[in-house]
Symmetry: C2
Subunit: 406 residues, 2 copies
Amino acid sequence: MNWDQMFSDTALLMKRSAIREILKLTAQPDVISFSGGLPAPELFPVERVRHATDVILAERGSEVLQYSTSEGMPELRGLIARRLSTPNFTVHPDNILITSGSQQGVDMLGRIFINHGDHVVVENPTYLGMMTSWRPHNIQFTAVPTDADGMIVDELKPLLAQRHKIVYSIPTFQNPQGVTLSYERRLKLAQLLIEHQLPFVEDDPYGELRYSGEKIPTVLEVEAAARGSNTVDGHVIYAGTFSKILTPGLRIGYLVAAAPVIEKLVQVKQSTDLHTSTLNQFITYEIAQDEAFLASHITMLRQVYRERRDLMLRLMDEHFPSEATWTRPEGGLFLMVTLPESLDATEILKQALEHKVAFVPCEGFFTGGGGHNTFRVNFSNARPEMIEEGVKRLGMVLKDAMTVRS
Amino acid sequence: MNWDQMFSDTALLMKRSAIREILKLTAQPDVISFSGGLPAPELFPVERVRHATDVILAERGSEVLQYSTSEGMPELRGLIARRLSTPNFTVHPDNILITSGSQQGVDMLGRIFINHGDHVVVENPTYLGMMTSWRPHNIQFTAVPTDADGMIVDELKPLLAQRHKIVYSIPTFQNPQGVTLSYERRLKLAQLLIEHQLPFVEDDPYGELRYSGEKIPTVLEVEAAARGSNTVDGHVIYAGTFSKILTPGLRIGYLVAAAPVIEKLVQVKQSTDLHTSTLNQFITYEIAQDEAFLASHITMLRQVYRERRDLMLRLMDEHFPSEATWTRPEGGLFLMVTLPESLDATEILKQALEHKVAFVPCEGFFTGGGGHNTFRVNFSNARPEMIEEGVKRLGMVLKDAMTVRS
């Protein structure tokens, strides 16, 4: 049977995620890998998950293992709503849909908003997993340049004269760069969204992992305030997750949006996978409803990841050649390195793998070309001694590459 | 913001699942509901789930809570492969992709096979959840009539002269009718699929729940044998699940297909939700690898569900008016009742709800009209005393309806 002739046009536009293929390459146990977006497994609240499972199965029994509603567990939606609310901004549980990880949220948004051939605005570079998911809709990406303060919103403005369908961005501790959209730019962005009646996807998996600098309100909140609203009834759809603050293996994410969008998303969710695992929603709720624990757990994560970020930056300053530059993120899991134009990060990865150290070349994160000389480095997953050894090796590989070129 | 103007064409073709909306209506605690497709929660292996979670978290630790591969846990894929293999038919782990319930498998198949406006062959009536998922592709359904032996394959043959993309069917203990495709028809169907080079989706959530009659090989196996093959390299894509034999709340299903189809499905899975919950795959594997337990658990389920089916059929014989007819399934969760043409099952549901008893009208399961006088009855979820009371009430409602009409 010739399957290629059977596949849909959409399917033919699909490819394996380049990142996940690189992750397979770098998954050998003797490689020091800075390539994944993995949280540190030694910090997972394993005993909490075990205890929570015991408690909910004892107290709620078979309900925890039965089919449940597509919207998600009401208590968990309530908890998420409370966590996102501030004194001037109220999120209602009705504005929340539970998803199987925030990747599913992003994928579902592609399904409900994007027609074949639509134009979508993104920052450049942007999250590869979004592109993998949305590309089969045969969309055109319009890339807005970024700097240390995130998307350069002034450059977005003239682009909006054209017909765009939606804007997608990771405003806080962006993947792959680690940069954060400044408050001033959030304000400007909100005005543009309102003026152009444009939906905006705020993908925010890392927002709670801030290690330095001042907390900035979400675009969700800033846009509401700009309209004089104190609730979720505007242009921003927010995607969040417990993957980075608890564990990713439970696959519990959520979307926050105006009621008509949630209504449409419930329809997609029903037809996609009926609902997210009942058990995992109960486990997540049981752990997260202990607010003191969750707060102290996040504080602990911030402390450990801050140390790893600081260590990595210090070692890079020490060992990397002066021709390389890199971002200095205030939070999240990643930073991005830029090499001289003459170098190709994919070629250098091959040499790095010979020295048993790995990263992710960022070329695939750039829409419409460029970025061949950039790569992403994760600082959350490896332990300090591995960071130390890995950055040294990487510094050597980079210096070798510079020497060859010069 | 006018969201309706923002939604994609696909999204505008989506509706809330009619079933899930009916389930909400019938979910009041004092209603005896035969409407859902729920397994009996009192039979869930709650203690096994608790114990399995303890064991895997103790033995495998944080691995159980980390991101994992899109294909699914290798051990679980191996276990499923072994369970589906027979002396003459070998399923390889590479032919298996783990999904978040079999609904996700059906949804992903729609994405990789169906183009906008394609023609799809289904049995009439067929599973509403498939229609909800595939309809946004704006497909045309071609309905093949069914009888007590399932899809009338001889009526499929002339239809295949036209250009169809794919055939979807639940050959065993079909939803909503409970009927099973006979072995002779499976042979004929296999020949047609081979002759017309047509992909076939065998949706088989209930196959292991047989209460009487002889086990019939899957279409997956029959089609392979018809080509002289003893492995998964043909036209059939098989969707299975642990929802009905363990618990649905874990959302662990799987697809079985030829290697090129699995390759494409992995790409969809990556972009859809990265992977199915690592924890739930480990729990399912830990429970199911105890083959003696799983076998005895399924034997127990068969025993209890057989008693409920038998009780329901006996009571229907006793209390239902003679003008009604119904299927007598050899397994699964459902039977279907047909009333005289002059009656409307949706109207009768309103009267039934007044008497605190519920079912699902089947009109929505019929593609292209018809079925207004049919309804589906679930016999797995309610305990015997509820079945007794519920069928009595329903018999009364039906007799009343007949009287009004005569």
